[in-house]
């Protein structure tokens, strides 16, 4: 018989669930964490293998991951089983939903890029008239960014730019390689800003090593893995969440646990799916959905992988000075920063990651046999590459809904996901490619290939929105502290809360928002409001 007397139930253990547990458990709040996946043991579950020893020589099992292009044969067992966890999308508008169901969630594999959002995002509507403002500004969340950055050990360089706010960083004072210096100089000539990458550091920068151990050491956190939440129960008298119904992943046995306060951090689409699946007399369209916008305004950041692939000619044949190649950098959004009419044929903007020193793929060279082998030896380590990340605009028609005819392995209704890129994103991607080519040529690089083909929506793994925060309860689901307008003991902490997302990778902001929401929750409890 379960006897744990918890104050809050946290669903999910990644960036948001982990941070909620970190803050609340240290403050003396008794937390019960339900995680849909199993626990990872890095010693037991991981070992070194040669690629030729894998069944498919590194190609991976054909057809195993129709939508997860990131999965390799080495890490295939980390990603979700798409057959057991199905979803649908319109036939001609593929959506790549990339999921990990393990303790720690996607923080086990995130890219670690950690940029603050700016008031160009928080107050985007004020700037260009499109969409909705966030109900908070940079000033509201800056103190929390200040605390999260040291916690996850973000390195980088402060530049004093309004569109890329400075942070509490481990100063990256490394000297750029000569090729990076040349690219930076070429960018400067065209008025394009460049900076160092800004990333969380350490061997592992995950919820499982930075957040959950601290929370559990307090004695205030109980973690239950393999608990797939099916539905949230509601008290018919108060309309508040009062129970969590979950299924054991392995046995499929059903359980119910009472909830005084519910913190939802199951990831953008899973959290909204759960709310849509939690229908009751009070909430016939899904929990906390009196506005009707739950599930709406799905967006992400579009990616154009390898927008430009170039060669640094002096590095061919292994020639050139030792400090010619290597290193990386970042170009923040620099278009449409002036208020008023956009200067480009699109709204908002895009950013680049760029890096020096790789070897271009043999596919790019129109050769084979001995000629190709000679070329590959010649260009080894001489590559320069750029990837575009662009803002996609949240639109009402882009949404997650429940597919009434499809269920997952545990009998839970599966989602239907609709998002497509529009002319605004396509124009942005084209401009990014053309500008990238100009910058590389200006640096004296030899451009091998350039393209503006975006990966399908979802593939960037930066899915956002669908449970947006806002000042107006008629147009949003959450208030500015991630608390549901309709259900005051329900907080939704993950990326679903974003009303817009800019081009910056979202994890840092998810953590800062969660820290802020968790402290707000404690204040509300002190005041007896929850």
């Amino acid at each position: 018989m379960a006897t744990f007397d918890h104050d809050v139930v946290i669903i999910g253990s990644g960036a948001s669930g982990g941070m909620a547990a970190y803050v609340l458990a240290q403050a003396g709040v008794k937390c019960l964490m339900l995680e849909a996946g199993p626990m990872v043991d890095f010693t037991r579950h991981r070992s070194m293998k040669a690629v030729y020893d894998l069944p498919y020589r590194g190609f991976g099992e054909p057809g195993r991951f129709p939508h997860i292009t990131q999965a390799s044969e080495f890490d295939a067992n980390l990603w979700i089983d798409e057959k057991k966890n199905p979803y649908t999308h319109p036939e001609n508008d593929p959506y790549y939903w990339v999921r990990i169901r393990l303790l720690g969630g996607k923080t086990l594999r995130w890219g670690r890029a950690s940029w603050r959002l700016s008031d160009f995002e928080f107050k985007g509507k004020d700037h260009d008239g499109w969409g909705e403002n966030w109900p908070i500004s940079l000033a509201d969340i800056a103190p929390f960014y200040d605390r999260v950055e040291p916690l996850i050990r973000v390195s980088g360089r402060n530049e004093g730019w309004a569109q890329l706010p400075d942070g509490q960083l481990l100063a990256d004072e490394s000297t750029d390689s000569l090729s990076i210096q040349r690219f930076n100089a070429s960018a400067k000539k065209l008025g394009v800003p460049t900076t160092k990458p800004r990333r969380a550091t350490g061997t592992l920068a995950s919820s499982v090593n930075l957040l959950l151990p601290v929370a559990q050491a307090t004695g205030n956190l109980t973690i239950v893995p393999n608990a797939i939440v099916r539905e949230l129960g509601v008290d018919p008298k108060t309309g508040l969440v009062n129970a969590v119904h979950y299924v054991d992943r392995r046995s499929k046995r059903e359980y119910t646990v009472p909830a005084k306060v519910l913190l939802l951090g199951a990831s953008t689409l899973e959290s909204t799916r759960l709310l849509l699946n939690s229908r009751s007399r009070q909430y016939p369209m899904g929990l906390a959905n009196s506005s009707g916008v739950l599930g709406r305004y799905l967006f992400d950041q579009f990616y154009v992988k390898n927008t430009v692939t170039a060669l640094v000619p002096e590095a061919r044949g292994g020639k050139g000075p030792r400090n010619l190649m290597g290193g990386a950098g970042y170009v923040p959004r620099f278009t449409n920063l002036k208020p008023g009419k956009p200067e480009k044929n699109y709204l908002r903007g895009w950013a680049w990651d760029f890096g020096s020193g790789g070897t271009p793929s043999p596919e790019l060279f129109p050769q084979w046999g001995a000629d190709l082998a000679q070329t590959m030896a010649d260009v080894q380590g001489a590559g320069f590459g750029m990837t575009t990340m662009g803002e996609s605009l949240p639109r009402f028609e882009h949404r997650i809904s429940i597919n009434p005819t499809l269920k997952d392995e545990w009998g839970i209704a599966a989602p239907h996901i609709e998002q497509r890129y529009t002319e605004n994103e396509h124009n942005m991607a084209k401009d990014a490619m053309e500008t990238g080519v100009a910058l590389c040529e200006g640096a004296g690089f030899e451009v091998l290939a350039a393209h503006s083909q975006m990966v399908p929506p979802g593939e960037s793994i930066h899915e956002l929105g669908t449970c947006r925060m806002g000042a107006d309860p008629k147009k949003s689901v959450l208030n500015g502290c991630n608390q549901a307008h309709d259900v005051r003991n329900l907080f939704v902490l993950d990326g679903s809360a974003f009303p817009s997302g800019g081009v910056q990778n979202p994890t840092l902001t998810i953590m800062a928002l969660t820290m802020r929401a968790s402290e707000y929750l404690m204040e509300q409890k002190k005041q007896g409001k929850i």
């Binding site: 996946g37 199993p38 990872v40 037991r44 579950h45 991981r46 070992s47 070194m48 293998k49 040669a50 690629v51 030729y52 020893d53 894998l54 498919y56 020589r57 590194g58 190609f59 099992e61 054909p62 057809g63 080495f74 890490d75 295939a76 067992n77 980390l78 393990l102 392995r250 043999p362 596919e363 790019l364 060279f365 129109p366 050769q367 084979w368 046999g369 001995a370 190709l372 082998a373 091998l448 290939a449 393209h451 083909q453």
Partner: protein, 200 residues
């Protein structure tokens, strides 16, 4: 009373257990050759993969298609300066296995592509692609000289050659033969990575 049935066995096991405990507790009193030289339960044994022992059974391509694929592999990734190529890496046999498990669209791309290549050889030179001289074979690979674009070529044969080139190179690079050659040549070992086992 005489012991009988299961009870007798239980007593025997107890005696045996006691005997074993006694032996385990007094190893120094026994001659060295009677002591298990490797009592560590966590000893790690070396094992190898299936293709280290036997020849893989081909089961997908027809003999003609397989011969064409093997010859194509020789042109795309030949052995150079003693470094293994597609032939030594048995890339064609691996791709036979991979294609047998691949989506139908990929299978069709390969089957049609190999058939077209062989047919073109027979039309032009009255012999199969696998029997062509290097110069003759290379002339049929001309679509690979087209500048790379992100979109796959509209011409199905060009699309096939592009896919086959990438697959042959990868199947060769990721082979045991290349890995062993790298080690023997004291070149940097390649293809060794952390592998994630099934997590239950």
């Amino acid at each position: 009373m005489r012991e009988s049935g299961p009870e007798r066995y239980r007593v025997w096991y107890m005696n045996r257990r006691r005997l074993l405990q006694t032996i385990a507790a007094t190893p120094a009193l026994l001659p060295a050759q009677q002591i298990n030289p490797s009592p560590d339960e966590s000893a790690v044994l070396k094992a190898d993969s299936p293709d280290a022992a036997g020849q893989p059974v081909r089961r997908y391509f027809t003999p003609a298609q397989f011969a064409t694929l093997a010859a194509l592999g020789d042109r795309i990734a030949p052995s150079i300066s003693g470094r293994p190529g597609a032939k030594e890496a048995e890339a064609a046999a691996f791709l036979d296995f991979l294609l047998a498990n691949s989506p139908r669209s990929r299978q069709v791309l390969y089957q049609r592509g190999l058939d077209t290549l062989d047919r073109a050889a027979r039309t032009k030179h009255q012999k199969g692609f696998a029997e062509l001289a290097e110069v003759e074979a290379d002339a049929l690979l001309a679509p690979l000289k087209t500048k790379w674009t992100y979109a796959m070529p509209a011409d199905p044969q060009a699309a096939f050659l592009r896919a086959a080139k990438a697959d042959i190179i990868r199947a060769t690079t990721n082979s045991r033969a290349v890995a062993e050659a790298n080690v023997a040549g004291r070149r940097r070992a390649t293809g060794l990575n952390p592998y994630w086992h099934v997590i239950e």
